[in-house]
């Protein structure tokens, strides 16, 4: 009986140590490549519209589960807001943000997943729909998807922070895909 109690207490302590924590994803950082891509190709100021979470998405919109830890967005507890902030920062750094512009970019976060269940690799899949409207008329409407993979670990103390730090890089890659789309640039620059 005593043995069982000790085992139960020890397991409880382990669980308390390793599960149930809430962590926050790192804030987004614009990449030089993305900023230069925008500065080299886009010439018209734009404003940012609404970014929403896909109502059909079951998870990953407010928090992402990393081995029992909940990773929340640093922007209004919403990963749709994270994407909006990422786009806003890139446009601002590229000197393309204009609150009075008639060109507006809005979006919807469709899928937002980080998976570190495996012991050797971590995976992420982020998918979003981007819409450009010029004076209210849709000029661009596409879904972009990025899949990423990195070295992970059996140890949660390694795997969880690594996944946490990779999240902004995954969003950077999603936006690289967007800025590299000739239709996106054409929709921005169209006279």
């Amino acid at each position: 009986m005593i043995t069982a109690s000790i085992k139960f207490t020890a397991c409880g302590l382990l669980l308390a140590l390793f599960t149930g924590c809430t962590i926050v994803a790192p804030k987004y950082t614009s990449s030089p490549t993305n900023i230069n891509q925008l500065r080299d190709t886009a010439s018209i100021g734009v404003k940012i519209g609404e970014f929403q979470a896909d109502p059909r998405a079951r998870e990953g919109m407010a928090s992402i589960s990393l081995r029992g830890n909940s990773m929340e967005s640093p922007y209004a507890n919403s990963y749709a807001e994270y994407l909006k902030e990422a786009l806003r920062q890139d446009l601002e750094e590229a000197h393309l943000l204009d609150a009075n512009s008639t060109v507006e970019i809005s979006g919807m976060l469709v899928h937002n997943e980080v998976n570190i269940a495996g012991f050797s690799k971590g995976h992420a899949l982020v998918e979003a729909r981007f819409v450009i409207k010029r004076s209210g008329q849709v000029a661009f409407d596409k879904v972009k998807t990025v899949k990423d993979e990195w070295e992970s670990s059996f140890a949660g103390a390694i795997a969880i922070p690594k996944a946490q730090q990779n999240y902004p890089l995954v969003v950077q890659k999603l936006l690289t895909l967007l800025y590299s789309d000739a239709d996106f640039i054409a929709a921005l620059n169209k006279q």
């Binding site: 020890a10 382990l14 790192p26 950082t29 030089p32 230069n36 500065r39 920062q89 140890a155 390694i158």
Partner: protein, 202 residues
């Protein structure tokens, strides 16, 4: 029962101690502000080798643990921002003598950073460093490859548990912010980058 406790102790020790915790030493970019600066009207390039960009560095944290980070990758966006604040445009180069990009982008100066770091902690119970030291040596070359400027900047950041519990790399963030803002000030004041003919826009 003895075996179970031994296994449990080993598992806890493996999971909790001696780890190199992933870490990011980047500053808060919103604080690398260039609004007061009148940019120098030339384009510049910077070179970080692919080996440096992916190099992982491990330095001490607290409680016998360590922290692991990629200093060049972490600091590149801040370096880019400092150069973009100070000059008309900044471009990454494939080599210090990347003639194709230097020519295509009308690059007048090339910057090559060298980063050294160290960290420590006065806490035996928490792994994030309470002190972080960053040394940035930045050398500038003209478009012909002649060294024209060099600056070494050392910055230290400190953070106590009460401060870093919401952001573990806080001491590193403070150190890198100091160093990058000092670099920006030094570039702005250096006479070597002023008084040269304008290069045409690319």
């Amino acid at each position: 029962m003895t075996k179970f406790i031994a296994f449990l102790s080993l598992a806890v020790a493996t999971l909790l101690f001696g780890c190199a915790h992933p870490f990011n030493i980047a500053p808060d970019l919103s604080r690398i502000n260039g609004q007061e600066i009148k940019p120098i009207d030339v384009n510049v390039g910077y070179f970080i080798s692919s080996m440096d960009a992916t190099r992982e560095v491990i330095t001490p944290g607290g409680g016998g643990d360590k922290v692991k980070y990629t200093p060049y990758r972490d600091l590149e966006p801040a370096l880019f921002k400092v150069l973009s604040n100070t000059f008309r445009r900044a471009y990454p180069l494939l080599s210090p003598d990347d003639r194709a990009t230097i020519k295509a982008k009308n690059i007048t100066f090339v910057f090559v950073p060298q980063i050294e770091t160290d960290s420590s902690s006065d806490s035996a119970l928490t792994w994030p460093p309470t002190r972080f030291k960053l040394t940035l040596t930045c050398q500038a070359f003209d478009s012909e490859g002649k060294a024209i400027w060099m600056k070494q900047i050392v910055g230290e950041g400190n953070a106590s548990f009460g401060e870093f519990k919401s952001y573990f790399p806080l001491a590193a963030r403070r150190a890198s912010e100091k160093v990058l803002l000092e670099l920006q000030r030094a570039l702005t004041e250096a006479p070597e980058f002023r008084g040269i003919p304008r290069s045409p826009a690319p």
